[in-house]
Point group: C2
Chain length 192, copies 2
DNA sequence: CTCCATTTTCAGAAAAATATGAAAATTCAG
DNA sequence: CTGAATTTTCATATTTTTCTGAAAATGGAG
């Protein structure tokens, strides 16, 4: 690896983390290198920085592209392709979450739904279905929350995240305000 | 595998998903079996249901225990240990998130912090640090949001999730209400 | 303590995932 | 078109992870 110490440490950690996330170490390292690079890099730049084979880089890039995580740029008078990550880190996280959802949550939801449609043929299947239903409902709740929050501009999202659970106080306040005239109007906290 | 078809389908899918989450297939399957079981199971019950070796089950259980995902129970007059998952699925998710945070986010934060303390020794290190700083800030934001929301009772959490981004409207309302008397009082949306 | 049921450990087998180099394919200037 | 530069593919080598059976450890009951 031919990276300055600080960069090397980052890249190594990122690779390590990647491997706990079901992404392979090398792919994680390639991403890390691109993330901190000052300029778009071509495949051979990555080969040099990570000291891995050209073909490995090629496959890693392909993998990252399939996750929509890379931008591509070609320089005039140079046949090589140059890769970089989006500037906006919020955009990166959105992509990451969207892709994981697409690959993991959506297929799971559809399997769970299919299982919930079946008629249980024994007591144990009946019980399994009840558990699966709980899981399905929870995932639906989280998913629809995400679908909703995803639409916010970054500005708003940050505002919301910064508030954290203090939001609950705001909610209480709202409830109290609107509850004054005619008693409990909306006890479950749901809106139209 | 000796499971009714519905259970088998669930267990297989769960194992498959587990392997994308850095958990190995078998461990995922063991968890799935326990999750849908009608009663606590002993290691041999799992051996029978999944058709894997006793030692594999033993290691899988150990792994799940290290994640705090299992409850244990012993039956009077029976020396075997029986395992089950918590009833409350929200509690399960909380545990899961807590553990992942502990193992993945916390170490990453500390590495990033350490890297940010160093003095960059080149332009490329300076740039890397700037990128790392952005990442660090984003993770801090998400983490502190989670730390905050984690404290809510399940009831409240569901309420919050159900609202989704509609919460922003409530915020706007609040801002407008309190802005009336004396102009912009809290433009950044932060409280406390 | 001994005995026996049970669980855990662990070295090595088996399987799966990754990495490589060589060859094939692509791309584009001339 | 040709040919050089570059990228991709793919069979196989390498490494890593997972799984197993045998042996060791544990933990009560008697």
């Amino acid at each position: 690896m031919t990276l300055p110490p600080l960069c090397e440490a980052f890249v190594l950690h990122f690779g390590e983390m990647g491997s706990r996330w079901g992404i392979n170490r090398t792919v994680g390292q390639i991403y890390a290198v691109l993330f901190i690079a000052e300029r778009p890099l071509c495949a051979d730049d990555i080969v040099e920085r990570l000291g891995i084979s050209r073909s490995n880089v090629s496959m890693g890039i392909k993998e990252l592209q399939s996750w929509n995580l890379l931008r591509q740029r070609s320089m005039p008078g140079d046949r090589r392709e140059f890769f970089h990550t989006p500037e906006d880190i919020y955009a990166i996280v959105r992509t990451l979450v969207d892709e994981r959802k697409k690959r993991e949550i959506d297929p799971t939801l559809s399997v769970l739904r299919e299982l919930l449609m079946r008629s249980p043929e024994s007591e144990s299947e009946r019980h399994a279905q009840a558990r699966i239903r709980e899981m399905h409902e929870l995932i639906e709740l989280l998913t629809s929350w995400y679908a909703d929050v995803q639409k916010l501009e970054t500005e708003r999202l940050i505002q919301l995240l910064s508030l954290g659970s203090k939001i609950v106080k705001v909610l209480d306040m709202k409830d109290r305000l609107f509850a004054l005239p005619g008693g409990k109007r909306n006890p479950a906290g749901k809106e139209g």
